[in-house]
């Protein structure tokens, strides 16, 4: 079912993968290296700005962009033509440079119950883990899985830690964890298998904010250590 388009394939190698009868994934995994991120950011912005009637959702991911559509308003062929024409003429503009967003985190205590496990896995102190985690500059690769959940790139190799053998049934909202090669923040209470090292008072998702998700793809973030008192006093969670 993989339809490969010959047209303009020399410009941006892509394939259109129908995702059922009401969505299509534009697979851009063949685009070389760092260009993928800029391409997906610009394609997302372009389609969001002026998409054909019948496109119901635009979902960017790390190496793809998925368009959901209403088949009574838009045929697959016209959507295919639109995507190819867009990819052929898309202008790639550099990402706006913005200062990293600071995410305050209270490490350890009862809100980071696995901090000791992570430290002992790496045969070091909890202070060294906190230092390494706050030293990193992380990039939001995509938002997905849960409302406002950022997939973060940039976790130092020295912090890679296997997931818990038995996932927790309820990880509290705001929990900051490490799972394998990734680090992330749970925006809402959810089951989860990551090692929990701390908690942030910042609400990653609030449906009542004009921009419900705190973070967007391409954002850079830094973690900043705060005390348990600060966490308690500034928490944005109910």
């Amino acid at each position: 079912m993989r339809r490969r388009s010959a047209y303009c394939a020399t410009v941006w190698p892509h394939s259109l993968v129908p995702l059922g009868d009401r969505a299509v994934t534009i697979d851009l995994s063949a685009v070389a290296g760092d260009a993928t991120r800029d391409l997906i950011r610009c394609l997302d912005a372009h389609v969001r700005d002026a998409c054909p009637a019948g496109v119901t959702a635009i979902v960017p991911a790390i190496q793809s962009l998925t368009l959901h559509y209403e088949p009574t308003l838009l045929t697959f062929v016209s959507l295919e033509n639109y995507i190819r024409a867009t990819l052929a003429t898309l202008r790639i503009v550099p990402a706006p440079t913005r200062a990293p967003i600071e995410i305050p985190v209270c490490y350890g205590h009862d809100v980071g119950p696995d901090l000791d496990v992570v430290a002992s896995t790496h045969r070091t102190s909890t202070a060294a883990i906190i230092e390494a985690h706050t030293a990193g500059l992380y990039t939001v690769a995509m938002i997905g899985f849960l409302p406002g959940f950022p997939y973060l790139e940039g976790l130092a190799t020295a912090l890679h830690t296997p997931r818990r053998a038995a996932p927790r049934t309820g990880v509290p909202a705001g929990s900051v964890g490490i799972g394998g090669q990734s680090t992330g923040i749970y925006p809402c209470r959810s089951p989860g298998g990551w090692q929990l090292i701390g908690r942030t008072p910042r609400a990653l998702f609030d449906p009542n904010r004009p921009s419900p998700s705190l973070l967007a793809p391409g954002d850079q973030i830094r973690f900043v250590a705060i005390s348990a008192e600060e966490l308690h006093d500034t928490t944005e969670y109910a």
Binding site: M1, V17, P18, L19, G20, R22, D44, A57, P147, P212
Partner: protein, 334 residues
């Protein structure tokens, strides 16, 4: 105008047709599990298809009306009663103040009330986001003693009510025709479009997927239906990056038991994609209970779209027919 939840059942939520446009920030689409039943139940009481209604998992649900209401039930294997008198699904009926509607059994039942359930719109929808904890009624499933209000009926809904009233009927003597209702079965054949990783299945697994039946496992919920059957395996390991998924996506987690994603699915997923159930067959899956089973049948995108447009034509035609039949001045007879 309001109703009070006397028995919430296993999981009853307020749902409309969902919020597709916020998937880029990870918000599940949500909405009615069986959008076709939801649409028809709303039509029977004169509502727009997207009006908010109750979406009930299985039976054991009881609601008491505090004001006169025009109501309809839609779904599979429904038994219900109003103050002890049996009420058929796919009909409109009048609930008088104080009457108790009991849904004894059902799979995924829509209870639609003329005017629609009046809850705030959040992110363009009245649907409950259980995972996000927002939308619908206080962002959660209904509990005993919750009191929900409903809006004024539409002009069409009001005319249907007066039609029943003038004939001194509680239940309509007309109903949604079988041609617009999904052909529910306990063991349906479900059509799907092959997905990118289907070709990576071992020959034995490909054979099993197209010939064997898969039972709905007990761990199924609004996010996804887990299937139990012959374990499926890929012939090669492929490292996957998360990308968009949709309602109906058949994922294959490492354990080898496929999952069909349902209304509250996450927006992106990183498991191999064996295929996607076509839109017109999603109601058939939504109405399966643990222990029911299904078989898969691959079809083409062109056929899926032809079936989709045909169903849309039928529902549009039924809507037009309701408006004609209950036009101002018409007497509601055929």
């Amino acid at each position: 105008m309001s109703l009070v939840v006397r028995q919430p059942g296993i999981q009853t939520t307020v749902q409309d047709l969902g919020r597709p446009a916020w998937q880029h920030i990870g918000v599940p689409v949500g909405g009615a599990m069986d959008s076709q039943a939801h649409t028809i139940a709303n039509l029977l009481v004169g509502n727009e298809a997207n009006a908010a209604a109750l979406d009930c998992a299985f039976g054991g649900v009881a609601v008491q009306f505090e004001a006169p209401a025009l109501v309809a039930l839609a779904g599979r294997d429904i038994t219900a009663s109003l103050d002890g008198t049996p009420i058929p699904p796919w009909h409109a009926f009048r609930a008088l103040p104080g009457t108790l509607l009991v849904l004894h059994t059902g799979c995924r039942t829509t209870i639609a009330v003329a005017g629609g359930v009046d809850v705030p719109t959040e992110l363009d929808s009245r649907s409950t986001s259980l995972r996000g904890g927002f939308g619908g009624w206080q962002g959660r499933a209904l509990r005993k003693d919750d009191r929900l209000t409903f809006d004024d009926p539409s002009p069409l809904g009001a005319r249907i009510s007066s039609h029943l009233e003038s004939r001194q009927r509680i239940v309509s003597d007309w109903s949604a025709s079988a041609t617009i209702r999904p052909p529910y079965q306990a063991h349906p054949v479900v059509r799907f479009l092959p997905g990118p990783e289907l070709a990576l299945l071992t020959a034995a697994s490909r054979d099993a997927l197209s010939h064997d039946s898969f039972a709905i496992a007990h761990e199924s919920d609004r996010m996804g239906f887990r299937l139990s059957g012959p374990p499926l395996a890929l012939s090669v390991h492929r490292e996957m990056l998360s990308s968009g998924v949709t309602a109906g996506t058949i994922q294959l987690p490492p354990g080898g038991a496929p999952i069909v994603l349902m209304a509250d699915r996450q927006t992106t997923g990183g498991y191999p994609r064996l295929g996607d159930v076509i839109a017109v067959d999603m109601p058939l899956i939504a109405q399966l209970r643990p222990g029911d089973s299904l078989r898969f049948d691959p079809v083409s995108l062109d056929l899926a779209h032809a079936l989709y447009r045909e169903r849309d034509r039928q529902l549009t035609g039924a809507t037009r027919a309701m408006h004609l039949r209950f036009a101002p001045g018409a007497d509601g007879s055929r």
